[in-house]
């Protein structure tokens, strides 16, 4: 298997539905909390070290071969807000479709059969990485990057932010991405001793609150 598969998986054009989601950027822009490149960077940093770390841990654990259904339950316990669980499962189902087309495997088939309405997206992504022959750390990187690239892309559309500035934000976050992916993979590596409690459960109150508020907006550009 090729390490280059990571580029395919982490590519923003990977057809798994991410383009319709802002990762909480749309409500933050509407509230005036994201208004420029600096505030976008702080938003992304906060999301990365909370929701991103949790998702990267789940993905690394799935890529390491831990029971995806147990991980799906661990994801539920770490996602108290209904709107975010719905989004995670919707994106998980779309990720599953793309993953089965690109890296078919019996493990993906089994999870798809057990969760026809979608498992949590990071779990599916981790299993996709495993099917592609990638390592847990690779899966953690893919998820961590997606955690910040989604809001950055959305901010370009929502704020007409200069795309060069938005890309520079992503580049500045690289050390944070390294730390997050490493922490997530290390946590997944402790599961044999500590169980799923080893997985991060970091939360961000405003992401949770505004995700549920956003789900009730009658008119919005992004699905989440």
């Amino acid at each position: 298997m090729s390490r280059a598969a990571l580029f395919v998986l982490a590519d923003g054009r990977f057809p798994a539905g991410g383009h319709a989601h802002s990762g909480g950027a749309e409500p933050a822009v509407a509230a005036g909390r994201i208004k420029d490149a600096d505030s976008l960077e702080e938003f992304c940093r906060g999301r990365l070290h909370t929701a991103g770390l949790v998702a990267a841990g789940l993905a690394a654990a799935a890529a390491a071969g831990h029971d995806p259904l147990a991980l799906d339950e661990a994801a539920d316990a770490r996602t108290p807000v209904q709107a975010l669980r719905t989004t995670a499962r919707k994106l998980g189902r779309q990720m599953m479709r793309a993953a089965r087309a690109t890296w078919p495997s019996a493990e993906l088939d089994a999870l798809s059969a057990a969760r026809p309405r979608g498992a949590h997206q990071p779990v599916v992504l981790g299993l996709a990485a495993r099917s592609a022959g990638l390592a847990p750390l690779d899966a953690a990187y893919a998820v961590a990057y997606e955690t910040v690239s989604g809001p950055a892309t959305a901010a370009v559309r929502l704020l007409s932010l200069d795309p060069f500035d938005a890309t520079a934000v992503l580049a500045r976050l690289a050390p944070d991405l390294d730390r997050t992916a490493a922490a997530a993979a290390a946590a997944a590596g402790r599961i044999p001793e500590e169980g799923f409690d080893a997985l991060p459960a970091a939360s961000a109150p405003l992401l949770d609150i505004t995700a549920q508020q956003h789900a009730a907006w009658p008119v919005r550009l992004f699905a989440s």
Partner: protein, 281 residues
């Protein structure tokens, strides 16, 4: 039942590593009411029995000394045995302060509720003073038929003061399966904590968790709480299991309390048999 001398015996001298104290409460059913066979204060935790309310036993935690300070290792264990109803509150806010050095403090709360038991953990807020560093955990084990009401509030810094650092983890297991697992980290050194995704200038954050088997049949609906942004914001949302969680942020502790009180009133109105959910003050 205490493993260390009670506060009256040996002044629990603060050593270089701070105070180590474990308070224990056990509630059990005796006749028609809940009794408290174990009510052991320790270190900074003095436990007072309050007048019971119906069949419910009520305990108030009174601070016997300033705690937690950096270096302290504090722990409270409370159990509501099968069929018992236990309500725990505190007399005053908990103030986390910096210790003699930069060592962090820990404060671990272990709550256990047996079959058909009911446990309310409704203390006053935690205030994280500038320079403080606290790691707080709540570990809750519930039998499938147990009911829980838990509130926690963190206020970052006293008025006009820079915030301390606090890291929390709330883990709730029901019938051995994890129902909720949530960490939070605020204050200096926590990446992105004051940015637009996490607190965005708010200085008070809190949660109200209600676990009740009745939600198996009729889960609570999502509710958005809070008015204008300057009053803070909150959302009530059902968990994947039979529970509902209110997550709230506010500019200060007063407005946070108002949001959580509103949420608690909503529970009392909408949940059958929830009249037992009362204020914790």
């Amino acid at each position: 039942m205490t493993l260390v001398p009670p506060p009256a015996a040996a002044a629990p001298g603060r050593t270089a590593v701070g105070v180590r104290a474990t308070a224990r409460i056990t509630a059990t059913v005796g006749g028609t009411a809940t009794t408290l066979p174990v009510l052991d204060g320790d270190g900074p935790f003095e436990l007072r029995r309050l007048r019971s309310h119906g069949s419910e036993a009520r305990v108030c935690i009174v601070g016997a000394m300033s705690a937690p300070l950096g270096g302290d290792r504090l722990r409270i264990e409370a159990t509501a045995q099968q069929g018992a109803a236990l309500h725990i509150t505190s007399a005053a806010a908990t103030l986390a302060l910096r210790g003699p050095d930069s060592e962090h403090a820990t404060y671990d709360v272990h709550l256990t509720a047996g079959e058909h038991a009911q446990l309310h953990w409704l203390p006053k807020p935690l205030i994280c003073a500038g320079g403080s560093d606290l790691r707080q955990t709540w570990t809750v084990d519930l039998a499938p038929t147990a009911r829980l009401v838990l509130r926690e509030e963190q206020i970052l810094g006293r008025t006009g003061e820079s915030p301390g650092h606090v890291a929390t983890r709330l883990t709730v297991r029901r019938g051995g399966r994890t129902l909720l697992d949530q960490q939070a980290e605020y204050g200096p050194g926590a990446p992105g904590w004051d940015g637009p995704a996490v607190l965005a200038g708010h200085r008070a954050a809190g949660q109200l968790l209600i676990v009740d088997p009745v939600f198996e049949e009729t889960p609570l609906e999502v509710q958005l709480l809070g008015g204008s942004p300057e009053d803070g914001q909150a959302v009530l949302t059902p968990l994947a299991g039979p529970a509902a969680l209110v997550t709230a942020v506010a500019p200060d502790g007063l407005r946070l309390r108002h949001l959580l009180d509103t949420a608690q009133a909503t529970f009392r109105r909408t949940v059958p048999g929830a009249s037992a959910i009362r204020e914790g003050r």
